[in-house]
Amino acid sequence: MKRAIPVLVLSAAGLVPVWLFEPGAEEPLTDVAAPVTEAPAQTQAQTQTQAGTPQAANKTVKGKLIKTSEGDVQVQAVFQGTKITDIQVVTAPNTAPTKKALPLLKQSALQAQSAKIDTVSGATATSGGYKQSLQSAIDQAQ
């Protein structure tokens, strides 16, 4: 596991040019990284287990925090045994290029809901299918 730290440091260092590249307009990153930062390694491992493969032997190791002119960078690796299965961003500078270099996707279960809405986005509704659609009901209500 000790070998993991240099790997992580190298990973983070490797990402630095990505952040330095094309610094664009400020864009809030929202709270993507924050929950991960505080999560103890074990909780993180359990989350991974639930979301992905049903393996119990996951371990998460944080890399060293690296300071760059754009802000602090820190990544962590998820291990399954001795194999790295995922690299996650713990801390990233709050700039648009960062976010675009590393899309962070939250996962959840599909839910069905009803709510008062102004309009509906869906894949191309044909004119034929429109009559029965939610959008048709909204249009008629006005």
Binding site: S108, L110, A112, I117, D118, S133, Q135, S136, D139
Partner: protein, 244 residues
């Protein structure tokens, strides 16, 4: 005022909350023109004529060049998953034209002074301003398996939302790399500042399948909500989700 017309085979709704109602006529006029010029289903459209080799490069209108450039960009960016010409089909820039044409219709309304309106073209949404002061447009995203339900509601002010999915018209999005219907996703929604980007990104990403989710999330100014075939939701952190 609220009006619905059927153009390009799609129901197009305009919900105008301020400005001159005659702007809506102008917007619909443009959409009919776009249909006449860019539909691959009309034999005398610019697209059909180009497809038959009847137009030389210097005869292309700037609008058509813009559409073709957009198609070429997405084809390149998706490694060919998004294709302008599929085997067995003629030149078909539909996937880009719809969002692009509706974006332009929105610009017609904005140019005429309207500030608060919502355009919906077959599920592609261009929202400007607010429906009532202090409130965002509430844009529901259709549940991929239940037409009467939503899977998320977005709060939108001056933004666009487009969704690609399997549920209408059967499996109509083809992965250009394999020639087979795109797989891996039930639906993919993109929120972007403009509808041209939202629509093309959603279509292109859907064609890529699962890997399209990260690809779309990495596109500039795009937020993503995707439902995978195994009913998991993947969404970017910046998506403006309305808490119901």
């Amino acid at each position: 005022m609220n009006r619905v017309e059927h153009i390009m085979g799609l129901p197009i709704s305009v919900d105008l909350r301020d400005g001159d109602p005659s702007l809506v006529d102008e917007a619909f006029e443009w959409l009919r023109e776009a249909d006449a010029r860019f539909s691959p289903f009309k034999s005398d459209s610019e697209v059909s004529r180009l497809g038959r080799g009847e137009l030389s490069p210097d005869e292309l209108t700037p609008d058509l060049v813009e559409v073709l450039d957009l198609c070429a960009w997405y084809e390149e960016a998706t490694g060919g998953a998004f294709k302008l010409c599929l085997p067995g089909r003629g030149l078909d820039p539909c996937a880009v034209v719809k969002g692009w044409a509706v974006e332009r219709a929105g610009e017609v309304l904005l140019g005429g002074g309207a500030r608060n309106f919502c355009l919906n073209a077959g599920g592609d949404v261009f929202a400007a301003g607010e429906p009532t002061p202090g409130k965002p447009w509430r844009v529901g995203v259709r549940h991929p398996e239940d037409a009467d339900k939503l899977c998320v509601v977005l709060a939108v002010r001056d933004g666009s939302v487009a969704t690609s999915a399997f549920y209408e018209r059967g499996e109509h999005i083809i992965d250009g790399r394999t020639g087979e219907p795109a797989r891996g996703l039930l639906s993919l929604t993109v929120y972007a500042p403009d509808l041209t980007t939202a629509d093309a990104t959603a279509t292109a990403a859907f064609a890529m399948g699962l890997e399209g989710v990260e690809w779309a999330a990495a596109q500039e100014n795009c937020e993503v909500f995707a439902v995978t075939s195994d009913r998991r939701v993947m969404q970017t952190a910046g998506l403006p989700v309305e808490v119901c």
